[in-house]
Amino acid sequence: MSTIIGLFLSLFIARAEAHPVAFAGSYSIMTWNSKEMSDWMFTHSFTSNYSLTARYLRLDTKEGERTFYMPQFNYLLKRWNELDSQANIYLSASHGGEKINSSLKSVSGAALETDWESRKYYVSFREDVLIDHKNSSKNIYQTKARAGFAPYLAEFNEINSWFILQADHNNKDVKEFKLTPFIRLFYHNVLTEFGVSSKGDAQFNFMVHF
């Protein structure tokens, strides 16, 4: 119940789709879910360069379950628009709270994300850090790399399919290193991903923007 209330509140404090910043004036909801993690983000892109996210993150770590409520600022540092491809560098910064019993402890976060995609291929890299101001041994460092390809070239009004392989490392995760193959399907503004990791855990991701 407290999780639902926290999520509800975080929506009103202030993010993302495949990209942390979408088109100007847009709203997006993104959620990543597995047995060990639940990550919800609600984002408003003010322009095509920056956005604000309300984020709820729950992680099962070696030290037990940890829950974060984080308003997050996302900035498109650089974009390369070419005729057949697009590449981006994004920066994110957040400052919020980690729920400890019934109180919130101050935490800060930062992330660097970069990607390149064409209609056929896609690669991305993201580095995340969550900083515990009082105990640096509790800092969380997460690295995520993805590569994917589309088995066919879908048009704008068709269902798009992608096969993606994700490698991620989290210093505090019960399972530190994971490889997860995903199938991604999207149609218009709704995107879903389903994968099962090398450790046997299912993951479901969902994004919509409007």
Partner: protein, 90 residues
Amino acid sequence: MKKFLILISLFSISAFAGEKIDVTVKGMVCAFCSQGITKKFNEEGVKSVNVDLGKHLVSLELKDDQKLPNDKIEKILKDSGYGVEKIEIK
């Protein structure tokens, strides 16, 4: 007389038909991410907007008497996150 009426009606159709514009867009590789393009042009009140990812093309049909200057088209595409290669009025 009949031929004259046909000619008049053909002239009327072409005179009041909305302008058609083809925009070649840079970076438009993902249908999910390009949704903003159709949304933004629809908000501008165009008659129709079609996206062809393969040809990198956004095709616009304007309403009768509607005008959409090139700088406005470029701004809409920039706000959607894309660059403009070429704008052609057909």
